[in-house]
Point group: C2
Amino acid sequence: MSLNTATVRTQWGLAECIEGCRRHGIGGISPWRDKLHEMGVAAAATAIRDAGLAVSGLCRGGWFTASGSLGPEVLDDNRRAVDEAAEIGAACLVMVVGGLTDGSRDLPGAHALVEDGLARTLDYARTVGVPVAIEPLHPMYAADRACVNTLSHALDICDRLGDGIGVALDVYHVWWDPDLPRQIARAGRDRILAFHVCDWLLPTRDLLTDRGMMGDGVIDIPGIRAMVEAVGFDGLTEVEIFSALDWWTRDPDDVLATMVARGRSAC
Amino acid sequence: MSLNTATVRTQWGLAECIEGCRRHGIGGISPWRDKLHEMGVAAAATAIRDAGLAVSGLCRGGWFTASGSLGPEVLDDNRRAVDEAAEIGAACLVMVVGGLTDGSRDLPGAHALVEDGLARTLDYARTVGVPVAIEPLHPMYAADRACVNTLSHALDICDRLGDGIGVALDVYHVWWDPDLPRQIARAGRDRILAFHVCDWLLPTRDLLTDRGMMGDGVIDIPGIRAMVEAVGFDGLTEVEIFSALDWWTRDPDDVLATMVARGRSAC
């Protein structure tokens, strides 16, 4: 199991997350870059190593459509993200690719920009040896966060770009897809670089920050986990919960304890 | 253009909607069944005919997963919906198929139940001559409203069930899908029974009731409309806007006037 720092992002910095993982017997961590920069990349790399934690990913690169073109600031930031992923020994750099460019309704244009940005970042990431993981986000984020919204689309991009790129599969984003079993089989072990869990709550009160703890929602997490394990995935199960109304308001040690318990009972 | 009564559902009953369409030069209407029952089916049929309105659909049948099995109450209600659609001369009966059954995480089970329910309703609808239209809903409704969430899935069901069934295509639900152009081409004229419009707002403040007026959001409505027209669809463009925070609070004559203007400028 791995702790994505977003799960306790209002409560803890990265140093506290690392300590928390140690206290709760959690074997891995996946930092967001804001937390990483806050602590300092070198200090974080040392602390993670000293704690004996695996790093299941670095969140996040991408956002290729932010400015409407692949300007140097976007590409340079992605290169820096690759370097940071390498420095902390992350299993992959997770890509939230970006939605429509501001004021635009051109979805195919956004798709093209994203694929170009991924290709260019991948060129660099290959030289450093960091796998790039496209995270298909739920279709409700197509406009403002990521215009790659199905595993099928992400794998089409991987097929076109070749080696060194795969997907970060988050059950929250893909659980509804009737094509999921077929696409997980298509992905195979080589393309599945990360496996994220949380749960879909009923009702969902906010599009971004009302995700649930595993077991509190409707996603068949063990079913999806069995599919990814059937194709050979043996990485960590990473817990990433955006929850402004619930888990971000709780004692973070309770969050981690619950996460560990639910890892056994609901994943 | 056609007015779906949901667009002014807090302001007007069906009789007022019919009058409103006449005043604003809107040539069609699509009632929800609660409004239809309120007015009385026979009275509504007469008033719609007298007003010279086309009926682009009846909303809605379906909800096959409501009770966890296809009990008589579910199937009978769908037969009544078919009869009502016939009585008002609706171009189709729109199906919101239902999500997961209560307390369940079994998505394939829900899919199977839905397909069985559609097949049984279709058997009856064929005898009455009412086309059945599956409305794929946005994936964010997979758990609680409809577990058919892509045009591809809906068309797979149509292929298995044969004649007399097609889809109601609502841009709000499908605009994000990278496979949309291919699936619209696959659907062709015979399977596209209705075309609904509204817009995806940024930000979207509520999963169900924060849909936008055409032109106020990010959907390339003219682009999608061109695709459906390219395969021969020549039915009405139906405006269905769930908007608790905005359009449901306005003077309904302003809503219809805006809808007509945006039909020209943004569709």
